[in-house]
Amino acid sequence: MTTLARLFQPAGSCRPRLRRFADDLGLTIIVCAWFAVLITLVNGKTYQLYDQMVYSIAIGVIALAILDGVRLTVLDDPARRRRWLLPFAVLLVATAPFAHFCGIVIGSLILGNPVPDLSSYPSRGDKGMILFALLAQLRLLQAQIEPHMLFNTLANLQGLIAIDPQQASRMLDHLIQYLRATLSATRAETTTLAQEFEAAEAYLGLMAIRMGARLSYRCTLPPDLRGARLPAMLLQPLVENAIIHGLEPKIDGGTVTVEASARAGLLEICVSDTGLGLPETPAPAKGSGVGVTTTRERLQVLYGARAALTLVPAQPHGVLARLTLPLETA
């Protein structure tokens, strides 16, 4: 964390860049060594301390080289710094898996261990590390992901690791998939229906583990619609609304159904739940309106009158959200 804090300190312009890099390098090695100690203490394999140190320092130095390199060249000029802050944050996230993989390769070469290849990455043990890294990156993710959801999921994972490691592994897979979809979606403009369904299923799978018997779900995507293109993050807010406003607050829970169909050149996606239903006074519906309003605005801009989002009461109870837009197949 100290390195992170230093990254954004005002540039001490009087000192040469190489000197500042050397300072950071020293600090990084110390921090990484501590991390290695911490990891061996946590996993109880103290005999691996030397190996852990080599890996940890290799990862840290690679990450530092990338981030400090960018910082000392591009971000050094205060005028440019503000503009580059967001791309830098993205780079920060992207660096983590890259540095982790390369660090492990270099560490393995130094130690004479078998070098992992990309297909077996991340391994089971790495997933614990990814969880660790996720916690550290929480602040960066807050903008896109509701922290309550993330912390509750991590709390479930923490519990599952002790009770049912296999289920924990499944849940972590869902979480990684959900995070990947949510984060990449903010950059990508369009996506395929298959990808949107995968993200929805990852989220629902996650929530089904958390809510236990209270949640069941069904996703139906006809094979010929898998490649249909649509704007990113259209489906996800509807699915999350069904959970957050429909089923999570309902004592008995219920079922979420996500279905896609095509007719007359239109793509229709229906998200229905058997939850609490629409609020009786539609005026100050806190939260629920935001996702719907944003989605409607996006549809209006992209398609005008050719697309629509309607919310109607489902029978016997719950909400049916119906999204209609022009069918575009790549």
């Binding site: 509750n152 519990g159 236990g212 004592i251």
Partner: protein, 268 residues
């Protein structure tokens, strides 16, 4: 010498894995504690607490049915009998508002994921509170909770538009009732009953939405379901069980005051 009965805890948490995890962590840090049950929602939490009468209640904040805060309020209103009110520990994943409020009120609360070390500190605090202090009956949990809940309850909220006249539908006419003539507002399912010297009328507005629109000095919340006009209160009486009842000018009906608000009617 009787052996001391085991200390019993009830866990209210809607996510089964988290409930099991909290129970397992408690067993590690406090092996003598008996976990009397697990309630899956805010409504069951109150019912099970009344049935099982635990010494400690772990309440998740965000639960279906009602929140942990609401459950604690309801339990405070319905708790009776000789057993001391349970020590309440709130459990939360992430909630800026709640955490802030807890810190101010110094309520015991733990954040999910719950670590052994953090829970052990909570356990120490509970043990200290459960041990009867010399010269004291012990287990003043309710009084303690009342103090803490008061800090959490919405007080004179953000100044909203003040209501001067209540427009209530009675049949097909709209009655205009000046707020100073209202004796009390009482929640009835989806409506609020407006009780005045002229009789009763219903409005479709929740007490929560109503409260900020009323003069906070004149209108006070006295339970989860009622707001009273202090200028209409003629007396407050306490029965043998310690329950407080309000009597009102020009009304034959009376109002029950929740222990959480009893301080409003203490003698000077």
């Amino acid at each position: 010498m009787n052996p001391t009965p085991p200390i019993r805890a009830l866990i209210a948490e809607d996510e089964p894995i988290l409930a099991a995890t909290l129970a397992a962590t408690l067993r590690r840090v406090w092996p003598d504690l008996e976990i009397a049950g697990t309630a899956p929602n805010g409504v069951a939490a109150v019912q099970q607490a009344l049935d099982l009468r635990p010494d400690i209640l772990f309440l998740d904040i965000k639960m279906p049915g009602q929140t942990g805060l609401e459950a604690a309020q309801e339990l405070a209103e319905r708790w009776d009998g000789p057993r001391p009110f349970p020590q309440i520990v709130f459990v939360t994943a992430y909630d800026d508002y709640a955490v802030q409020a807890f810190e101010q009120a110094a309520v015991d609360y733990v954040m999910k994921p719950v670590s052994d070390a953090r829970l052990a500190r909570t356990v120490e605090r509970i043990k200290a509170r459960l041990a009867p202090a010399p010269g004291q009956a012990g287990g003043d949990g309710l009084a303690h909770l009342v103090e803490q809940m008061r800090a959490l309850l919405p007080t004179a909220a953000a100044p909203a538009e003040r209501l001067t006249v209540i427009r209530a539908a009675v049949g097909n006419i709209i009655r205009m009732i000046p707020v100073q003539d209202v004796a009390y507002f009482q929640a009835l399912d989806k409506y609020v009953n407006v009780a005045s010297s002229e009789g009763d009328a219903l409005i479709r507005l929740s007490l929560k939405d109503l409260l900020p629109q009323l003069d906070a000095d004149q209108f006070r919340q006295i339970s989860r379901g009622a707001i009273v006009n202090m200028r209409h209160v003629t007396s407050a009486s306490r029965d043998d069980a310690g329950k407080l009842t309000l009597h009102l000018r020009d009304r034959v009906d009376t109002l029950r005051v929740s222990p959480l608000f009893a301080h409003l009617f203490r003698q000077m």
